[in-house]
């Protein structure tokens, strides 16, 4: 007898697996044509999924008319995958890549203005800046402004150490990131 004529009714419905990914921070790098509205288009698409752009940096590349964009966004893996596909569909995007699970180099730059009224504070801040390979880029009677580059963690650590002195202002770029060519190369120094 065939399978069909032996119809074997079951009460509980069969269920199809649905995809749910974990929610985490993704780093997406895009090569885009530097056209009117390209940033708005990309931002609209991400906002349309209900996600907030956590970090963003844009700058021209060596090729005329092309810019590199790095976007940090916290979201579900599955939805981000969908976002990447849709970003690729945009007419002005040349390349889109989710670097999160790919070996890559990422850097941020921060400018931190610190209250340094006493000679002791000046010494301390200078020393910390040196340890972190920061540079003092502006000095006044009562402030130092330090430039520092590095990974997100490094900058966070630096900022934590300076907090007791009193941070007056700070500005931080979003991340810039590029894929590593040697997949197994050591974290650079």
């Amino acid at each position: 007898m065939s399978e069909l004529s032996q119809a074997n009714p079951v009460k509980a419905p069969m269920l199809r697996e649905t995809k749910k990914g974990s929610v985490r921070k993704h780093i997406i790098t895009l090569l885009v044509r530097n056209e009117l509205g390209v940033l708005a288009r990309i931002a609209t698409l991400i906002a349309g999924k209900g996600y907030n752009i956590e970090g963003l940096s844009v700058g021209e590349t060596h090729e005329r008319g092309l810019s590199r964009m790095t976007i940090e966004v916290i979201g579900d893996d599955v939805v981000i995958d969908q976002v990447v596909k849709q970003l690729r569909k945009l007419i002005d995007t040349i390349k889109v890549r989710d670097l999160t699970d790919t070996p890559h180099i990422e850097r941020e730059l921060a400018l931190v203005k610190i209250h340094t009224a006493t000679p002791r504070a000046r010494d301390e801040v200078l020393r910390i800046a040196e340890i972190f390979r920061g540079r003092i880029v502006d000095v006044s009677q009562s402030t130092y402004t330090v430039e520092i580059t590095g990974t997100e963690d490094k900058i966070n650590a630096f900022v934590e150490l300076l907090k007791p002195f009193g941070i007056m202002e700070m500005a931080r770029t979003g991340k810039v990131a590029l894929k590593r060519e040697m997949a197994n190369s050591e974290e650079d120094v």
Partner: protein, 584 residues
């Protein structure tokens, strides 16, 4: 030769082979209208509202496969196009929208009739442009057409500031190769990955209970021959979505008709029980899947689609194939023929077809007719008979749309024109006019609801002006019928704001516009007025069918529910869940 920007617009449109523009003039677009007048080649249809122009361009594009063109002025002219743009985006309709804009130096100044239409339409266009330099004008317009019609088609908007249309330039119209090379980030895949096609062929040959699930992509790609060949070669039953109607002839013995919320019992049963679902140019919309966890729960899925972002969006698929439906199906058939020269169908395959025949007999698509009151389904059937199944049908949105989908049997692609994705009431009349203008040799019936009709009825006068002999059948139940049906089924008959029984005399309205009007209030008048209408070929005819007010669209799978909860007839809650299962 130096000429005005406005002349460059017309020159480029002619280069693209544009025959018709649907539009409405105004201050910011006047130069283009002047160039149109002076040139005299392209025919312009003056609509009475820009939304009508947008839907006409859509109807034209859907019926012909060509790119439709709609044009308006800045500000309110442009915002009135927005619904049509969103509609075209949802249904992947190739339309180029051209809007006038205030002069460049006034942009951002809250000038008279200024609106940032590029910003407004960014999420509802495939792409859009604001023209900043006259030298870019012909390239941008050609890019717009190229983007609109290739890959997954869609609407593209070109916003042209007035000063650009007035400036002089001797810029040349670029060639198609120049257009392509100017878009380095845009390369639609059409061919399909051959490894994936091989995998798909193997799955199809070994499946015991396969079903083809065919959507609008198959209509766009005009893959009817390939679909019939594949279905017949492998003996696979075919269900079509609302957008896929006509991609596979509905009188074919393998046709399962529509699936999903208002799908047939046998289509939904087949999908629920299949072990292989072959999705062809379809996107697993929620109106199709219902509760996603219970959609084709036993099936492996092959998904053929031109849009990589559509694949595995709502449902994880086993074999994704990105490519043009027609191209991929052709390769798939070749692969099957090569591999399966001595193909013997598994015994289960014959049983599967027999089982489907049983389901078709158990609950065919039907309704209870009446001699006292006109049943809406009866009207559709009579239109189908009178037009010998060959008419193009355009509809609004609601109950009448679903009856038109169910009870007219479609046989060719581009025959059923409706707003599937956005669900735009008022789509039917202008889309039908656009379709008739594009396909004058075909009888075009607009099947509309009384609610839908009133949303764009000003275009009746447009049809009269241009002597477009569309037939407009209003399925008049004096209700916003679909909302009423949901209120009956899910809100204990609390009929909140759905009564439309105060309405114009539609026959007199037609006459007031210079069209012809007929009314049927009894079933025996239905056939008669349809036949009368079909004799008139020089002006539009409106047919006002007073139908059973509280008829429901059934079967129905309530929104977000499983196919197991399908309601088959009034008063009966659902199918017996146990009967849903073929195999454990």
């Amino acid at each position: 030769m130096a000429r005005k920007g406005a002349d460059i617009v017309i020159e480029t449109l002619k280069e693209e082979g544009v025959e018709y523009i649907f539009g409405h003039p105004g201050g910011a677009i006047m130069e283009v209208y002047d160039a149109l007048y002076r040139d005299g080649t392209i025919k312009h249809i003056l609509t009475r509202h820009e939304q009508g122009a947008g839907h006409m361009a859509e109807g034209y594009a859907k019926a012909t496969g060509k790119v439709g063109v709609a044009m308006s002025t800045s500000g309110p002219g442009a915002t009135n196009l927005v619904t049509a743009i969103a509609d075209a985006y949802m249904d992947s309709v190739p339309v180029v929208f051209i809007t006038g804009q205030v002069p460049t130096h006034l942009i951002g100044n809250d000038a008279f009739q200024e609106v940032d239409i590029v910003g407004i339409t960014r999420p509802i266009t495939k792409h859009n442009f604001l023209v900043k330099r006259i030298e870019d004008l012909p390239l941008i317009i050609r890019q717009a057409f190229y983007i609109a019609r290739t890959g997954r088609p869609g609407p593209v908007l070109v916003d042209i500031p007035k000063d650009i249309t007035q400036k002089l330039s001797d810029v040349k119209i670029p060639s198609l190769d120049e257009v392509k090379s100017s878009l380095p980030g845009y390369k639609p895949h059409t061919e399909g990955n051959s490894q994936q096609i091989k995998r798909a062929a193997k799955l199809i040959m070994s499946a015991k209970r396969p079903v083809l699930y065919v959507g609008g992509g198959a209509v766009q790609s005009e893959a009817q021959d390939e679909l019939i060949e594949l279905a017949e070669l492998m003996n696979i039953p075919v269900t079509t979505t609302n957008m896929g109607k006509g991609a596979f002839p509905e009188l074919h013995p393998l046709a399962l008709h529509m699936l999903g919320m208002h799908g047939t019992y046998y289509a939904n049963m087949a999908v629920y029980n299949c072990d292989l679902l072959i999705a062809v140019g379809a996107r697993f919309d929620d109106r199709v899947t219902g509760k996603i966890e219970e959609f084709a729960p036993q099936a492996s899925i092959i998904h053929i689609d031109i849009d990589p972002a559509s694949i595995s969006k709502n449902i994880v698929v086993d074999v994704p194939i990105v490519g043009d439906v027609k191209v991929v199906l052709r390769k798939l058939i070749q692969e099957i023929k090569r591999e399966g020269a001595k193909l013997v169908f598994p015994e289960e395959r014959h049983n599967w077809i027999r089982q489907i025949e049983k389901w078709k007999k158990l609950h065919p698509l039907t309704y209870r007719n009446s001699e006292k009151v006109i049943k809406p389904q009866y009207v559709i059937e009579e239109i189908w008979k009178a037009t010998k199944g060959d008419a193009i049908i355009a509809t609004g949105v609601g109950q009448h749309q679903m009856w038109a989908a169910m009870f007219y049997k479609y046989s060719y692609p581009r025959q059923f024109i409706n707003s599937g994705g956005l669900g735009t009431m008022g789509f039917g009349l202008p889309a039908g006019i656009g379709a008739k203008i594009g396909r004058p040799e075909k009888e075009v019936f607009v099947i509309d609801g009384d609610g839908s009709f009133m949303m764009t009825m000003q275009e009746l006068i447009t049809a009269v002006q241009y002597k477009v002999p569309v037939k407009i059948a209003i399925i008049n139940n004096g209700y916003l019928g679909m909302v009423r049906q949901w209120q009956e089924l899910f809100y204990e008959k609390r009929y909140s704001e759905v009564d439309l029984s105060v309405q114009p005399d539609f026959v007199k309205l037609a006459e007031a516009c210079g069209a012809i009007g007929f009314r049927a209030e009894k079933p025996n008048q239905v056939r008669e007025i349809i036949e009368e209408a079909m004799k008139i070929q020089d002006k539009p005819v409106l047919l006002d069918f007073h139908v059973d007010r509280e008829e429901n669209v059934l079967p129905m799978v309530p929104a977000g529910k499983s196919y197991r909860e399908m309601i088959l007839e009034d008063g009966k809650k659902s199918v017996d869940a146990d009967t849903m299962y073929l195999v454990g």
